[in-house]
Symmetry: C2
């Protein structure tokens, strides 16, 4: 996913990016099950097994897909408000990006979320918590709690068995942040 090879073969007709683009388009239009290896291959115009030149297996495609979405999120500017407002902005933006690609949610919750952009996002979420007066250990746990909340919210929301909506999300987020604030040192 990271190394840039310089000696193609007879013809490198594809890029990892093109494959992920096609997969994401299928996921967004056809739902979770639509992004099969075979359909992705058809979309980019190669035989199914040609995909295995770029990714070792299906799970690798899923992981790359998740990391691709998280990459967009890490570009967010949390603004210059208080720590509470910055945390809110980041969480709301994460939710927005995930809701935009509902088919990716099951992949996130199924996989390990250990890609580079996942780690970067964690750091970004931790910053406001540390600034809010949480000691380092609590900031790490608080970041994890925020991820649990956002992912859980979005999962239940896209599954459809929820009242959900912006309002419920904001309410829950504020309750979580209030709970974290209670843990913070007065500073």
């Amino acid at each position: 996913m990271a190394e840039t090879r310089r000696k193609p073969g007879p013809r490198r007709t594809l890029t990892e990016q093109e494959i992920l683009d096609a997969a994401l388009a299928l996921l967004d239009t056809g739902g979770t099950g639509a992004a099969s290896i075979r359909r992705i291959a058809a979309a980019v115009g190669v035989a199914p097994n040609a995909v295995y030149t770029y990714f070792p297996d299906r799970a690798a495609v899923d992981r790359a897909l998740v990391d691709r979405i998280l990459a967009e999120v890490t570009e967010t500017d949390p603004g210059d408000g208080c720590w509470w407002g910055r945390a809110e902005a980041l969480a709301a933006d994460l939710r927005r990006h995930l809701i935009a690609h509902p088919g990716v949610i099951p992949l996130m919750l199924g996989g390990s979320m250990d890609g580079p952009h996942s780690l970067r996002l964690n750091e970004r979420l931790r910053e406001p918590l540390a600034a809010g007066g949480l000691d380092p250990a609590s900031a790490v746990r608080g970041t994890y709690l925020l991820m649990v909340f956002v992912l859980g919210s979005v999962a239940l929301e896209v599954a459809g068995g929820a009242p959900a909506g912006d309002e419920q999300f904001r309410w829950g987020l504020d309750r979580v942040l209030a709970g974290l604030a209670a843990e913070a040192k007065p500073n």
Copy 2:
């Protein structure tokens, strides 16, 4: 799932329960993908399509499976402690039951969680929140928040990309309850 038919056919060799038992056993031993219709059928000794006599499709089996797990949870006695302690006990017990059947988690997050025992569990979780001084609307939202937290925690935990563990769960749960307590009327 609910109606009890009284006129079998030539031979009713199976029960919905037996099918669900087999499915759960496959899920627990072989992981999420192991409970295919074909494998379930093989486990109970019928042809694959015989399962469709009992359930209309795969999704119905999944829903019944989820509700079966939640049925166990609704039997929990939250004890006679304070509202905080009762909420903790119920949430921890829900987590325990889910962790015991990791393969069911993706089914819960994928489906709508609208079975009868799901509703019952919601009521049970709402009780301590209402007792703690949350007005009815906030108690409903708080219950949803608790479900989001528990399901999100368990999903990330079984996916493996998490530090997780009892301690992290308890810490997060206490932060959420603290946030809810801050919302409560002094009463």
